[in-house]
């Protein structure tokens, strides 16, 4: 029974990680814009494509493979830019995402709701996101925060560099916490991230066009 519980918990942890992982810095870009993202970590390999139909909303399709459980899943995302604040050389945003997932291995559907707020200028980046779902009788909550600093102010034609620290908290029958330092760089419409904390690591690549 304990093994079954641990497997169930691990399964839902992976589901939540998947729900959170595609929520990159700008889930909604510009009208008619596409974003393609690839991510690989100890737990999964993921591909994600997203199209913004207006400056307010986008639809995304995500597919990934879970290495440990050998499962293949797909998710359909509806991303909405709830509010954007404009400042000189800075912006702040609130995004919401509603997702419907399909486990092709277990033949089951699952819902996922996500909200994210971020504020950034060319030197400081901050974000906080929360994922909520109800996979069983209990509610599941995961909160992720990121704080990033840029060593220099990037220009339009240069490469942007960020050093970030990500802290995540998970509450589902037990509490779990994780910290991970991340290096992020981007050049024009290409973004890449590398992260490791000694026990886990990940690589993320994204391009807008």
């Amino acid at each position: 029974m304990r093994n079954s519980f641990n497997y169930t918990l691990k399964y839902f942890l992976l589901i939540i990680t998947i729900c959170v992982s595609p929520i990159f810095s700008h889930p909604v870009t510009f009208k008619g814009g596409y974003a393609v993202s690839l991510q690989s970590s100890n737990l999964l390999t993921e591909g994600y494509i997203n199209k913004s139909f207006s400056k307010r909303y986008s639809l995304g399709l995500q597919g990934f493979h879970l290495g440990e459980s050998n499962e293949t899943l797909g998710l359909l995302h509806y991303n909405y830019l709830l509010k954007r604040w404009y400042f000189h050389d800075a912006q702040a945003n609130i995004y919401t995402t509603a997702s419907l997932g399909w486990n092709n291995t277990k033949k089951t559907l699952f819902p996922c709701v996500h909200i994210k707020a971020d504020a950034e200028n060319r030197r400081i980046f901050s974000s906080v996101s929360a994922t909520i779902m109800k996979p069983s009788h209990d509610y599941f909550l995961k909160v992720v925060t990121r704080l990033g600093l840029a060593p220099y102010k990037h220009q339009f034609s240069g490469v942007s560099t960020w050093f970030m620290l990500e802290a995540s908290y998970l509450d589902y029958r037990s509490n779990q916490r994780q910290f991970m330092p991340i290096y992020r760089g981007f050049y024009k419409s290409i973004l890449w991230e590398l992260g490791t904390n000694g026990t886990s690591s990940f690589f993320h690549f994204m391009i807008h066009y």
Binding site: S25, H26, V28, T29, F30, K31, G32, G33, S54, K55, L81, R84, W85, Y86, F87, H88, D89, A90, Q91, E120, N121, R122, P151, Y152, K153, H154, Q155, F156, S157, G158, V159, S160, T161, F163, Y183, G185, F186, Y187, K188, S189, L191, T196, G198, H208, Y209
Partner: protein, 121 residues
């Protein structure tokens, strides 16, 4: 040891990237129509029209890329330059009537940003 080596590599890589970026270009905001000076990154073109658009909230290359992409849907626009320090988008065209204020405002709105001023030279 591996962590130290990784950090060292990231710092070196960042320094190289920093050196690749161009320094902020001076944009003459006090324009004189008789002695107009183009930004050195933009080639001088006979009969070229410069349109300076001031926006707000542009913080990253992805933001600027979206603005550039929407504006370049107009084939009459030859060059676009973005300056983060002054929040300025500079448009170069040789066909002034084809690049209207409405088109500029709509394109930048579709990219998710707000136009503050539009100045034509």
């Amino acid at each position: 040891m591996k962590v130290i080596a990784s950090l060292f590599f990231i710092l070196i890589f960042s320094t190289i990237c920093f050196s690749m970026g161009k320094p902020p270009q001076e944009i003459d905001s006090h324009h004189n129509s008789k002695s107009h000076q183009l930004n050195s990154a933009i080639p001088a073109l006979d009969k070229a029209i410069t349109i300076d658009v001031t926006i707000t909230g542009m913080t990253c290359a992805i933001c600027a890329h979206g603005i550039e992409k929407k504006l370049k849907e107009n084939s009459e626009i030859q060059t676009i330059y973005a300056d983060f320090d002054t929040q300025l988008i500079r448009i170069i065209t040789q066909n002034k009537p084809a690049v209207t204020d409405d088109f500029i405002e709509t394109s930048i709105d579709w990219a998710g940003y707000k136009v503050i001023t539009i100045n034509r030279y």
